[in-house]
Subunit: 273 residues, 2 copies
């Protein structure tokens, strides 16, 4: 199997898994993004060269707290009580690393703790925020289609930025961080994403024309910024890909960098309106 | 004025200001600790060599959000609405630095962001948690005495750990981080703090004997750890004091290191019971 076929095939599987898990039910959606968060965290910790079980503990607690809000209340368990306990555990787990790294000799205290908290804000917080997006509607019910629409816009933006940049790209965006990105590519991605949002709003009527337009703008601007941010992390670590889980596509973090940075802003926008 | 008189005088003023602001009203208490948080943050940022206006923005937003919960609801303003807006601003302010440091050339992206988030968890979170402690009673009313009791235990622990250590100290606690701390000093501070908590519980009856005893144990153990953590930050920065605001006592961070690390655990303990 040649490189292009491998790349195409794994790309199709990746997209198919994301779409079907999002559409099937809130449980498959929350479970899938839990797994994607853990893989992304694993790759990011490797990138910044931090071995820390605390990062996983904090990320899992944070994700569990926000995910539990969407569990049906008909069960025999008192969900609110469990959430309260997890919040307390989250606070305690945030301060225990100060004690642990006090006695550790591997890294400077301020470097180790700083990287730990960065990994939580950069990976765990966006994942914990984005899983609320499908619930942000007047009835708070799960609408997986909304999230599939957002993912589509992100993929359209990435694809057309790449295609337009490759064929018409002349002016570098920020050469120092990402030498392949051009202003022409960015404009191409932006234009096609806006256009796509217009068609999307005809089929995904849970959100209005204007709302899909704003989401398209957020996707284009913050998606590219998310891509550049991950590129800078990789550049500092002197690696090309964050991992090699997806054949021909690098790691999960490489695939999700735009999603990670754009979705918190989409969440805030949908929360405010 | 010689060094000892200066040290004694400024120490008395410092203690007097803390006690009177805590006892006077919830507003003087919240205002005083707001100022102390800003000074501590300023000193900590200097210590880790980070110039960042985002650290102040994030700290002020976080403190304001938790402080506003205690504002009377009789005012014409919709406090809950203001809190919601501030929470949104807090989230946005947490992600803007990623974009800012992307274009900045002064530090590595992961170092700058890591130090920024560390300064929030180490300084802003504890201050935002500790101001709730006087409200943690069945009626949620402000009882400044509780906080004065906790401060007294912290000062008793510090003083007796110093005195016992100076006179009977032989075995170093962790020489590598803090060469002046001894196990004898720690035990001395611990014993006198436990004893003090017994007398305290007779006069500060808002909390029970057992509750004051547990607080005394938290103060001794986590107070010393807080002191060691700040020592390690200073050692890495190769400075002796975090500042020189309080004549003869170093900076605010030097004075508050035990308070910063012990009070989140006291808050969690009082919240759980």
């Amino acid at each position: 199997m040649n490189e292009l076929t491998k790349r195409l095939l794994s790309g199709i599987i990746y997209v198919a898994v994301l779409i079907s898990c999002s559409l099937y039910s809130q449980f498959t959606f929350i479970l899938l993004f839990f797994i994607l968060m853990l893989f992304s965290l694993y790759e990011f910790l490797k990138l910044i060269n931090l071995q820390s079980v605390f990062a996983y503990v904090l990320a899992i607690l944070m994700y569990a707290i926000t995910a539990l809000y969407h569990f049906p209340e008909t069960t025999k368990l008192d969900i609110n009580k469990i959430i309260d306990v997890l919040i307390v555990l989250l606070f305690i787990s945030a301060f225990i690393p100060f004690i642990f790294y006090l006695f550790s000799k591997t890294k400077q205290l301020n470097t180790a703790l700083g990287q730990l908290f960065l990994s939580i804000i950069y990976i765990a917080v966006p994942f914990s925020m984005m899983i609320h997006i499908p619930f942000l509607n007047p009835e708070f019910e799960y609408i997986g289609k909304t999230f599939v629409g957002i993912l589509s816009l992100i993929w359209i933006n990435d694809t057309f930025a790449y295609l337009v940049g490759k064929n018409f790209g002349k002016t570098k965006l920020i050469e120092r961080i990402s030498p392949n990105k051009t202003i022409e590519g960015f404009i191409g991605g932006f234009a096609f994403t806006l256009l796509a949002s217009y068609f999307l709003s005809k089929y995904f009527q849970e959100l209005s024309h204007i709302q899909w337009l704003v989401i398209a703008i957020i996707v284009s601007v913050f998606g590219v910024l998310g891509d550049l941010i991950e590129s800078k992390f990789k550049r500092e670590a002197k690696v090309k890909d964050s991992g090699n889980f997806i054949p021909g596509h690098g790691g999960f973090l490489d695939r999700l960098d735009s999603v990670i940075f754009a979705t918190p802003f989409i969440f805030i926008y949908l929360l405010l309106i």
